[in-house]
């Protein structure tokens, strides 16, 4: 972490420590260990095969694309891609079809790595391992879906066996904001490498937060609590802040923190105890005997590395360097996937500042289809004064909508000549800037008229109407 710690918003100088476990579903066609579809939604229990239903006699076979996506993520997070062994994590629960989960325990596919955040800080990655998702339980009855009031539960195994990568960070984050930046950056990477759609709301990316507090950054870590069920970046930030304050209140009241798993309740804005770690389950991990070890060939890893797209961090730096954009503006442009468009438009002579400005405001998904030549031309028209900034926005919107070139849109909209109000203010500007010449003109020196018209033509790139300029000057002269 950087030495300059941002304000964490906590009272009395308390410090917080945050580590995150992010589960991301991998964008494969089929499940991690079997050939039924990895699809969100669908009629319950229609994406099943003997393996994902945990039927007796069924055997898992590893999905090669899931492994490749895991390696892509690992490489993007600067992890060591290593020999790994799948293990069984044993526990009874209805949405776990085999009553064990196939995961990686002692030897994960991705070992230590790190993620550099836009703010210049670095978060360590402990590991990123492959595992299978569970089915989904729906709690039925008068309790309105609450687990403890349910009359009974219905189970759908469509999601069972969907490939997950669990990305575990080091406890390197110190503010909720930083945690949000970390998750956004991670999400951007997952999308960039084509490993996931990164949709937190649909559950394809799930975050568990480990939060603890201490008096000083030099103290050892405090007892941590794990918060589950944060479904958006915003709720994650709220949950972390709430949890830190809850722990501080307890400690200041002389109580101790119990290590436990807590559930974020979005409606009530608080975390509640799910279970105490002191009654920890004995998962009886052991190597999965139905699978063999995974030790990816270095040549394959290098092939995957070579095919990796440029990552968001590098793309942001590129935009900053070549356009002079701020880091925040560059981040937005990269997030919208418009960095290539902007940079190509700059290369062919577009106005960097104006292009960056437009790209930041282009929230339309179709914007990536803009032609670089048209986008560059728009910025030139604007900088030459052929159209105003306001007009440029309108023209751009139509370019995105209809794919026409900016000149014909401007002409269609009658933007070719400068509107009289702008022309007048431009002329007024010239008058103010050239007080001596203006005095001569007022004094009747008619030849100075030519000087002003020439300046106006220059300022508008030749688009200003000379007669109109003369008329304004005559009007101002009285």
């Amino acid at each position: 972490m950087s030495n300059e710690l941002p304000d964490n918003g906590l009272p009395n100088g308390w410090k917080m420590v945050i580590g995150l476990e992010v589960h991301t579903e991998l964008a494969t066609q089929t499940k991690l260990f079997s050939s039924s579809p990895n699809l969100f939604g669908g009629e319950p229990n229609t994406h099943l095969d003997p393996v994902s239903l945990g039927l007796p006699g069924s055997l898992p076979v590893l999905n090669k694309v899931a492994v490749e996506l895991a390696i892509r993520i690992g490489l993007a997070l600067n992890c060591v891609v290593q020999r790994s062994v799948f293990a069984r994590k044993n526990y009874f629960y209805p949405d776990q079809p085999k009553d064990f989960q196939i995961s990686q325990y002692e030897l994960p596919i991705n070992g230590e790595g790190h993620l550099d955040l836009p703010d210049g800080s670095t978060v360590g990655i402990t590991r990123a391992h492959l595992e299978e998702d569970t089915g989904k339980s729906t709690h039925m009855g008068s309790g309105g879906g609450r687990i403890h009031d349910a009359d009974y539960t219905l189970v759908d195994y469509n999601r069972a066996g969907v490939p997950l990568l669990e990305i575990v960070s080091e406890p390197d984050m110190r503010t909720a904001e930083q945690a949000k930046v970390y998750v956004s950056e991670l999400r951007a990477i997952l999308i960039a490498v084509g490993a996931s759609d990164g949709k937190m709301e649909e559950g394809s990316m799930r975050v568990d937060c480990n939060v603890s507090v201490r008096r000083s950054d030099d103290d050892p870590f405090g007892t941590r609590c794990e918060i589950k069920n944060v479904n958006s970046l915003r709720s994650m930030g709220r949950a972390i802040d709430y949890e830190a304050r809850r722990q501080i209140d307890l400690l200041e009241a002389g109580e101790r923190i119990r290590q436990e798993t807590r559930h974020w309740n979005e409606d009530e804005g608080r975390t509640v105890t799910l279970r105490s770690k002191e009654e920890a389950t004995d998962y009886r991990y052991f190597p999965e005997p139905d699978l063999v070890e995974l030790d990816p060939d270095p040549a394959w890893i290098e092939q995957i590395r070579a095919a990796l797209p440029m990552l968001p961090r590098e793309r942001r730096l590129r935009v900053v360097e070549r356009t002079g954009a701020t880091v925040a503006a560059a981040a937005l442009i990269v997030e919208r996937g418009l960095d290539d468009l902007v940079l190509e438009a700059v290369t062919i002579g577009g106005d960097p500042a104006r292009l960056v400005n437009h790209a930041q405001q282009l929230s339309d998904d179709r914007a990536t289809d803009l032609s670089q030549a048209a986008f560059a031309a728009l910025s030139t028209m604007e900088s030459s004064g052929a159209i105003s900034a306001t007009q440029a926005k309108t023209v751009l919107a139509r370019m995105v909508e209809f794919g026409e070139d900016p000149a014909s849109i401007a002409s269609e909209l009658g933007y070719e000549a400068m509107p009289s109000d702008e022309l007048e203010s431009m002329v007024d500007g010239l008058i103010a800037a050239h007080a001596d010449e203006w005095a001569k003109l007022v004094a009747g020196e008619q030849k100075v008229m030519g000087f002003f018209v020439g300046a106006a033509m220059k300022a508008t790139g030749g688009k200003a109407d000379g007669k109109a300029v003369s008329a304004i000057l005559n009007q101002r002269r009285g």
């Binding site: 007796p56 006699g57 076979v61 044993n90 209805p94 009553d99 189970v155 009886r284 139905d290």
Partner: protein, 481 residues
């Protein structure tokens, strides 16, 4: 038709239209109807399906269409092999009535070969046992002497072949569950190299040890059935991606110059004198046929039982967690899901299964993993290493299959450890992943069959079958004289 006793003869006769598949199946079904009330080899006889399948094959043959190598041959399947729409129970109450929605890979391969399943055979519950006394549906009796056990866990499959119902059956062998009942019933039983036969659709007991293999009345039939069921299966990650060895063409190769090692560790205390004498006689027969016979040590094999009774229960404790009353099988109702788990599993599993689940859970539990499961997996490596050293000097190894001939019901059920000792000679090869087979070699002092075990290195089925064929011939000529 009565002269047709082997699968090879039956398949040839069906192909030559000397007999129909229907006639073979009817003969098998009537033999079962006649005797199985006493023997109880079968949990389920699928007579209607067998008749229908036989009729289909007869149509194919009559139409001159090509059929598989086992076309028309009746076969019995151990009831831990998944058969689509046909109850698959593992002889456990917890799976009673379960109809799998899919076929095991071996079942599909058998169907393609034209073999006709006549039913599902009894076993020790979830293949845990050595006498078939642990079946929830009652024991199977040894066709050679109904007062004795057929061995186990594939007791039903061994008995079905020994009783002459079918020339072939399939069993599964985790620690001796094919070889030991083969020995006790006087038939041939093969535990192939781990990974040679797909386990997909075999209800798991101990995944790293389980292998499916054939029972037959002759070494040739066993080789034929193994050729039919062996081969790489993309649905089993542990399946070996190698082409199937041509066993049949090597059966008559003899053992001239073959180096045969008698494993000293398997000829020690606990092996009955008559069994030991028969094993020595088998070694002499091989030597007489030109083999070079010597003694060999496999020191770590002496710890096979110890490693096995940690590894197999550990894997089983996890494999058997899925019997949870949610998706299939027995449910004993309760007011909460955890209570339902407890009630169902307590009512659905027998004592031996519970014992192994608890043992395995303990061996994996926090604080004990290294001492038990971890240590056992290292011992397993040593056993493999010691076998590999033995195979530097010998092509195949020889030992008794079972320490004794078939014993009486109830003899060994009191003390689990006594029962476990039955598998002392067979377990080490499962731990090593090597192939081994049991060949009948005469009878013991009680007149009951004795089996000798031929072991071979990984993928060493060819030398193993060559030795077995010579032993079979020697046993037959000894019986005649």
């Amino acid at each position: 038709m009565t002269e047709l006793t082997t699968a090879l003869e039956m398949a040839a006769a069906v192909a030559a239209r000397e007999v129909t598949a229907t006639e073979l199946v009817e003969a098998s079904l009537s033999a079962i109807a006649e005797r199985d009330g006493d023997i109880s080899a079968f949990n389920l006889v699928t007579d209607d399906a067998a008749r229908q399948r036989a009729a289909e094959i007869d149509v194919e043959i009559a139409a001159g269409r090509p059929v598989g190598r086992l076309a028309g041959v009746p076969i019995a399947l151990k009831d831990n092999l998944c058969t689509r729409g046909v109850p698959t129970t593992c002889s456990s109450k917890i799976l009673e009535g379960w109809r799998p929605p899919y076929d095991a890979t071996v079942v599909t391969m058998l169907a393609h070969s034209g073999a006709i399943s006549v039913g599902k055979t009894n076993l020790d519950e979830f293949a845990m046992g050595s006498s078939t006394e642990n079946s929830a549906f009652g024991p199977t009796r040894n066709p050679r002497d109904l007062s004795r056990v057929p061995g186990g866990s594939s007791g039903g499959s061994a008995a079905a072949v020994a009783a002459g119902y079918v020339p072939l059956s399939l069993g599964s062998d985790t620690g001796g569950s094919i070889r030991q009942p083969a020995a006790l019933c006087g038939v041939v039983g093969v535990k192939p190299t781990y990974g040679l036969v797909s386990r997909y659709g075999l209800v798991a007991f101990a995944s790293s040890l389980d292998q499916i293999g054939p029972f037959a009345t002759t070494v040739t039939d066993a080789a034929l059935l193994l050729e039919v069921i062996a081969g790489h299966d993309p649905l089993d990650s542990t399946s070996i991606p190698e082409p199937v060895a041509d066993l049949m063409s090597h059966l008559a190769d003899g053992v001239q110059g073959l180096r045969v090692g008698i494993v000293s560790e398997f000829m020690v205390e606990g092996i009955a004198d008559d069994v030991r004498r028969r094993t020595e006689a088998a070694a002499a027969a091989l030597e007489a046929a030109g083999a070079i016979v010597g003694e060999v040590n496999v020191p770590a094999a002496a710890y096979g039982l110890d490693a096995y009774y940690l590894i197999a229960p550990a894997e089983a404790s996890s494999n058997l967690a899925r019997y949870d009353a949610v998706r299939f099988g027995l449910r004993v109702d309760a007011s909460t899901t955890p209570d339902m788990y407890d009630a169902t599993r307590t009512a659905g599993f027998g004592d031996e299964v519970k014992r192994r689940i608890m043992l395995g859970t303990y061996a994996l539990s926090a604080g004990y993993y290294d001492a038990y499961y971890g240590t056992a997996q290292k011992v397993r490596s040593l056993i493999r290493r010691d076998f590999d050293r033995a195979y530097q000097d010998f092509d195949v190894l020889l030992s008794p299959t079972s320490p004794t001939t078939a014993f009486a019901f109830g003899d060994k059920t009191e003390d689990p450890m006594t029962m476990y000792l039955n598998d002392v000679c067979t377990i080490p090869t499962n731990l090593a992943g090597h192939p081994a087979m049991s060949v009948p070699f005469g009878v013991g002092d009680d007149g009951m069959p004795v089996g000798v075990q031929v072991m071979a290195p990984m993928m060493g089925e060819i030398p193993m079958f060559r030795a077995a064929a010579v032993l079979e011939a020697a046993a037959n000529s000894e019986a005649i004289s």
